[in-house]
């Protein structure tokens, strides 16, 4: 075992010096035990079988070099597998290719590692050693020398004296990360307040409710009792920012018996004959909530098991979500198609900086 300068073969000395090195008053390390546990020292040295029996020693040596040879075989096999199992036409070949290359590389690395460890454990010199912790702080002489080196460097480079060079260097280093800031800012919405964007969705008065993904408008009569429709606003599929809009505007449409709904007075005309529409974006962290149980009328979020009760305006009955799912006020137009009465009356999805 390696020993550093102050690591001693004399265990008693090393032990006492270790205690002295813990100085009183040193923050964080100033616990001086009055009656420290007595160091039991090392157990008696036990020789390994490879130390006692030359045959066993020979065998361990054989094991180690066999493992190293095996590693070579693994590496060569990985190269061979790359040629023997090419990816040409179908996905099945990808599997064979990755599997056999992977097995080869795994064999190469594992055999190498096991060989090295076995070598270290069974054959390399076996004696116990001790390395004593020493303080991080250097001796006063070392510290003085370090200061001297800095001063000399400052003097010779002129870093302190040539202020123009120094300041321009600092300026350059400050300017360097700026392009990254600008580039990342460009990923966000331009000329618009992100908070406003989060407050509004594509839904507005008269937008038809259409089926996801086809965009076919839905008639109120299509939505039979117990039905669930996954809904997107009409025209979503033609938008260039389709995914951004869908992430906010996705809606789940359900029909319950009107008698099952507990509607608050201000939402009296938000449902149409028991057909209700709720945002599909969980108010916890924004997973799509769509696990609707048609008998219990519970809506379950698969990510963190928040449960919403559709009969009580999607109030949270279990789980980490804090707010009910926002309801989309709906009605029917002259042709019998379901349309939105307005946008959501509150921001959809999880909390953000300006909304808690």
């Amino acid at each position: 075992m390696a020993q550093d300068d102050n690591g001693g073969s004399d265990l008693a000395a090393a032990d006492s010096s270790a205690v002295e090195l813990v100085r009183a008053g040193d923050p964080g390390t100033a616990v001086l035990l009055q009656d420290p546990v007595e160091n039991p020292g090392f157990p008696p040295h036990r020789k390994r079988v490879t130390d006692k029996d030359p045959k066993k020693n020979k065998r361990a040596e054989r094991t180690v070099y066999t493992l190293f040879y095996l590693s070579i075989v693994g590496s060569i096999w990985a190269i061979a597998a790359y040629m023997l199992f090419p990816i040409e036409s179908n996905v099945g070949q990808v599997r064979a290719n990755t599997l056999f290359i992977g097995l080869g590389i795994a064999l190469a690395l594992l055999a190498l590692g096991f060989g090295a460890v076995h070598w270290g454990k069974a054959l390399m010199a076996d004696h116990e050693g001790i390395d004593v912790r020493h303080p991080v702080e250097g001796t006063p002489a070392t510290q003085a020398r370090a200061v001297e080196i800095f001063q000399q460097a400052n003097e010779e480079s002129g870093f302190g004296r040539r202020t123009l060079i120094r300041n321009s260097l600092i300026g350059a280093l400050v300017a360097f990360p700026l392009p990254a800031v600008v580039l990342f800012r460009g990923l966000g919405p331009q000329n618009q307040n992100p908070a406003d964007l989060l407050r509004h969705t594509m839904w507005k008065k008269g937008t038809r409710l259409t089926k996801d993904p086809s965009g076919v408008p839905i008639k109120a009569s299509d939505v039979t009792l117990g039905s669930v429709f996954h809904v997107i606003p009409e025209g979503l599929n033609d938008r260039e920012d389709m995914l951004e809009q869908k992430a906010k505007a996705a809606v789940l449409l359900m029909r319950l018996k009107p008698t099952d709904l507990h509607v608050s007075p201000e939402r009296k005309n938000w449902n149409y004959d028991g057909i209700v529409a709720y945002s599909k974006i969980c108010t916890h962290v924004g997973c799509p909530v769509a696990l609707y149980e048609q008998q219990t009328h519970h809506l379950l979020c698969p990510c963190h098991q928040s449960q919403f009760d559709i009969t009580h305006e999607a109030e949270v009955i279990f789980g980490p979500a804090k707010r009910p799912l926002p309801q989309l006020p709906i009605t029917v137009d002259a042709d019998g198609y379901l349309v939105a009465r307005s946008d959501f009356h509150e921001p959809v999805g999880p909390s953000f900086w300006e909304r808690h």
Binding site: V49, R95, T224, S227, L291, E293, L300
Partner: protein, 270 residues
């Protein structure tokens, strides 16, 4: 049922040979003919029966109903405190619930679980014929709607939008609230998948023909058949359950082997 041999596929196989998706189509068509052929055989007789819905069959069904179902669903099938009304649920609901062994229930619970079917096919058809006479409802689907030879890609998209949140993207099923769960779809026959969508058994919502058209339903069946018949290219699926089974596997075997290796490395050699 998938092992049923198909003999008439040769002529159809030729049509798509030069198409880039020939392999896919070939598999889909092959599956279509095996599954669909059997289903056609299976339900053509069924639809013939329901079409005629002979008085004898209805009477037979009524007797079975009185003996096995009326305790919970009431003598007039109008429901009791223990079971819902069956008026207007249609033959499809009976074929699904009784044909998968969910009904009659062994006991009340969070949901009726699948178990060995308690009736013969004929008895199920008689029961379905009787319940169908109680009020208009979805009929047992025609065999042509069940052939898994639709558009698997479109079916996959529809499945991900409408079904995957409960049944898992690989159709492996998943947990719901308070002990309920969405079942694994791998061993469900096309007819039962179709009937479940139309009738919305238990807590599953209804996906009527105006929401997901019969053609769309066939595409979904095609997708499910496709993922059942094609092994995962990614190697071991571990049930396709996602982070639960994969995480558990890694916690036990991945971390377990790391702990074992650490113990081995630090232990003193003999």
């Amino acid at each position: 049922m998938r092992a049923h041999p198909h003999t008439t596929s040769r002529s159809r196989r030729k049509t798509g040979r030069r198409h880039p998706l020939a392999t896919l189509a070939l598999i889909a068509i092959g599956l279509g003919l095996t599954g669909g052929g059997y289903a056609a055989f299976n339900s053509s007789t069924a639809s013939a029966e329901t079409a005629t819905a002979s008085k004898q069959s209805v009477d037979e069904g009524k007797k079975l109903f009185m003996a096995n179902c009326a305790t919970c669903h009431g003598l007039n099938a109008s429901g009791t405190d223990n079971g819902p009304s069956l008026i207007g649920v249609g033959a499809a609901a009976v074929d699904f619930q009784v044909g998968t062994g969910r009904m009659p229930m062994a006991m009340q619970g969070p949901q009726a679980e699948e178990k060995p079917v308690q009736f013969t096919d004929d008895q199920v058809k008689s029961l379905a014929a009787y319940v169908a006479t109680l009020g208009p409802g979805p009929a047992i689907p025609d065999a042509s709607l069940l052939k898994p030879d639709g558009d698997a890609a479109k079916g996959g998209e529809l499945f991900r939008v409408n079904c995957a949140m409960c049944h898992n993207v690989a159709g492996a099923g998943g947990a719901l609230t308070e002990g309920k769960f969405a079942p694994d779809l791998h061993n469900v026959t096309p007819a039962h998948i179709y009937e479940a969508m139309v009738t919305g058994p238990q807590n599953m919502p209804v996906f009527n023909n105006l929401n997901i058209t019969p053609t769309d339903k066939r595409d979904i069946i095609t997708y499910l058949t496709y993922i059942r018949e094609n092994p995962s290219p990614g190697g071991f699926e571990l049930g396709g359950l996602g982070p639960v089974s994969e995480g558990l596997f890694l916690w036990i075997f991945g971390l377990g082997s790391i702990v074992a290796l650490t113990v081995w490395i630090t232990a003193k050699s003999n």
